[in-house]
Point group: C2
């Protein structure tokens, strides 16, 4: 059986999410880098693999293309159940998916590279405008996320109890991106505490952007 | 047991998704409208219920707050399994989640009301700029979605086989929003065909924006 192949980019937040899940599950994979800032993901050879031209994309052992980081991670969790990335009970699963999607649907998509580039080309946004935009949407999402995490007895060492899972994966990837745009993390002590707990784990470290072969 | 309560807005695409799932499952719920364009979702009384101040939010029978449409829909699918909204096999489930997230993560978040409003206030975007922005991100996502749907033998009457599910729910909600911004659907015959098949079903009709109590 051939290895899975992960098309990705070291600095992509959604790529980082999938790498964490692969490392947590102990799955080996071939790493194919695409330099987003050089447009390598829009070359014909890659578009033939993934018509959306985005990363990450996982080529499964049977050749199936899977995209979308949350879909990929749930697939990995269903096919390699241990360690589990979602609780067993439906309300717990919904809570973890909710926390993950507060980042994956409400923060990250508005702040990814192609959107920031469009602000520059369409509206003449400069570096400061782009940084303000990025920080605004992080704060819009991290404020309620901090409130929910701090208020809930279900929050433990990690977002849900004392084992890391899907929500923690999204949290760490977002906090890592935040650093590039100077987001002030002082208003988010619970998020910061969970991020630190995750970063003490080998899977999160090994998957981190600076530890990838295409890191600059 | 009290009814579930759905905080929502007739025209919100993510609210529409949850309403479709509730109707497909045959679940009754209390409908609490929040007029997004009047800022009703940002009033203190609602922020006390949902600190993110977004719709949809589902209050479960036990009082638990759930937000994020995809998390809510997977919760409904796990607690009321029939009719199922996801296939049984992991690769099929991954495919349906991928198709859903191509809309829910890559198209909708960049085009929702608060982002469009920010383009106006921060960059002076006018109606035409906003409409162009909306159509651009739809086309960026619908192009590859059309390619994937048309190329796959797993596509049937609906996105995955001949029963409607999570991906169809997202597809219909997006196509409905598109109409308000004049998106040309001619390049998307497969998406259009699936949308028409869905709209022939009572659940999709009953949940449609124009059939809600707060429709204008």
């Amino acid at each position: 059986m051939s290895n899975m192949v992960l098309h990705n980019y070291y600095r992509s937040s959604t790529s980082y999410r999938v790498r964490i899940a692969l490392e947590m599950k102990g799955l080996s994979y071939d790493y194919v880098p695409h330099h987003l800032r050089h447009g390598e993901h829009l070359e014909a050879a890659y578009l033939a693999v993934n018509p959306q031209g985005l990363v990450p994309a996982l080529i499964c052992n049977d050749g199936t293309l899977l995209t979308q980081s949350l879909a990929i991670i749930e697939f990995l969790d269903e096919t390699t159940p241990e360690p589990t990335l979602l609780p067993k009970d439906p309300l717990g699963r919904a809570r973890v998916r909710m926390l993950a999607q507060m980042i994956a649907c409400d923060i990250h998509p508005v702040n990814n590279l192609r959107v920031l580039t469009s602000l520059r080309t369409l509206f003449g946004a400069g570096d400061q405008d782009v940084a303000n935009w990025f920080r605004h949407w992080v704060n819009e999402g991290f404020g309620p996320l901090e409130t929910l995490l701090t208020a809930s007895p279900e929050t433990g060492t990690f977002c849900h109890g004392d084992t890391p899972g899907l929500a923690d994966i999204c949290l760490v990837a977002q906090v890592t991106s935040n650093a590039r745009f100077g987001v002030d993390m002082a208003p988010y002590p619970t998020i910061s505490r969970i991020n630190a707990a995750c970063m003490a784990l080998p899977a999160f470290q090994k998957a981190a952007p600076q530890n990838q072969i295409d890191a600059e």
